[in-house]
Symmetry: C2
Subunit: 356 residues, 2 copies
Amino acid sequence: MADRTQSSGILRPLAAIEAFCRQILTASGADRPTAEAATRAMMHGTCHGIDSHGVRLLAHYVKGLVEGRLNPRPKLTLANSLGAVASLDADNAHGALATYTAMDHATRLAGEFGIGAIAVRNSSHFGPAGAYAIDAAERGFIGFAFCNSDSFVRLHDGAMRFHGTNPIACAVPVKGQNPWLFDMATSAVPYNRVQLYRSLGRELPAGVASDERGYDTRDPQIADMLAPLGGEFGFKGAGLAGIAEILSAVLTGMKLSVDIAPMPGPDFSTPRGLGAFVIALKPGAFLDIDSFDAAMTRYLDTLRNSPAREGFKVMAPGDREWAVAAQRQKAGVELDPVTVESFKALGAAYGINAPV
Amino acid sequence: MADRTQSSGILRPLAAIEAFCRQILTASGADRPTAEAATRAMMHGTCHGIDSHGVRLLAHYVKGLVEGRLNPRPKLTLANSLGAVASLDADNAHGALATYTAMDHATRLAGEFGIGAIAVRNSSHFGPAGAYAIDAAERGFIGFAFCNSDSFVRLHDGAMRFHGTNPIACAVPVKGQNPWLFDMATSAVPYNRVQLYRSLGRELPAGVASDERGYDTRDPQIADMLAPLGGEFGFKGAGLAGIAEILSAVLTGMKLSVDIAPMPGPDFSTPRGLGAFVIALKPGAFLDIDSFDAAMTRYLDTLRNSPAREGFKVMAPGDREWAVAAQRQKAGVELDPVTVESFKALGAAYGINAPV
């Protein structure tokens, strides 16, 4: 969801935005793999309409690279490798480089063993989880990506920020089509939804945020934490967040959400000790690939053609994102005013023309 | 949740109930592995307070074994084995035998390769998904279990029963404690909640069920299908159901939920062609086991001691179930009237004393 509150109406080509991100990251000291991976992950967000995890993060990442939170020239090393799994020490790399690298290893292992999993250590904010799941799907594998993050979400019946928005993403290859693509926060809504409603003076939906005592509120001004997905069945959202937390923090030896330094600082010089976790599966290792392709196609055909509520159409996970991507690839994207200003400032600082 | 509408107040020992289930299954023609596995899965439900998936299913399973839906003497075979994954053809076994066997293979593979996954073919209703996840955790592995089932749940914006309640279960070993145990339906509520509220004449919670046009209703009499988890964010529940569907039906070559014959019949002679999917991970393959144990313990300590809403206490997934189990192991369990009657009828039919 875009968190802009006013519209400029100006559409800018994705290619120009992408080139600017890559140039700025490089100018700020990032090595080539870092600049490529961070740009790719941000462009996944901006291209598919996941603007909260798109190029609005460029200035944030540059600050981290310059001040020391992120290692601009990391040496990633694979450790504890046992058969189909390994740990990847990301040397405080940008989270996109860490996680694309992890998925690369996971798919390699899945190609050999049918499944592969990588626990990522010493990583950092990785942006949109779906970017890594889809990276697997585009190469013919089912991909899962998980991470935890600084605390924003209460537990069921809880009264403190405990888990991060701890996303779970999964993508599945579909022959001749875009992948099935599912990327969810385990909170009821993203935190920037609360911020947006605050600036718009709008009431929040019921059951998505709480005051500091853990009681649901629809007033964005007094909303202090997010609710876990599920409303009165919030133990489900909290349990799903727990899966992401256990895989990403416990199984990696990295920080629990409650121990992670806040993403917006003020400290931008200390690595945050984030973990992440990816899994890849090779469909052809479980049944012949033609049967898999036919079954996946039939599942999606059945789903997309199933009866909907009057005035609605049923969509598969990802369908909305693919439609946005097609539109933006053709017509360009409108950046929010805060991002436009940050691009101007970055362009001026590094002597690079901003696409604004 | 128990779906009893009246209380007898009589507590019966778990051991007597367990022995009765085993004897009845054996008398109905089940071989020893089938009787053991089905009893064990049902007792997981009854012991932990998941009564909808407990021994109330005994009569249902006996009918399936006698009339041919279930193979009482199946020959399970492992196929398509590649490194850390395999398909298991369950020969229309009881789902508990199929899935315990699958988890046995998955943990064996995880022991060797760090992770293992088994796609289960030609299985049947497996009862509580958590039974198989916990089977892994009790042996020191992180376990996941998934299945799909006959359609009860609409899609987001949908107006037909599309997915089953498609559960996702995960269990994680905790040194010196009961495992972390998470077992959720991807629907907002279980279908027997609707049935219970119908018989009690109570209003349903908002956003958990829909009429036949896909519109939310709180009237259990006109509720025709369940909503996916998430209320107005039901695309999340529908996507999670999709993960279970893709792993359990597509990746196994088994039936989509929309194609599965109804669990309650009338046909009890035709195998239903259900799939399931299990994954096991070996924590010690990702980091040293002492660090894992310490991190998991700290995570749970932090969670259980975190601030709660006034009058509440925060619980970890499984805590409620372990408390019920401790109480029932000590005091016995009260069976609902329908189950008591079915036990009497089964006891009379097979000449075995029912514990009622």
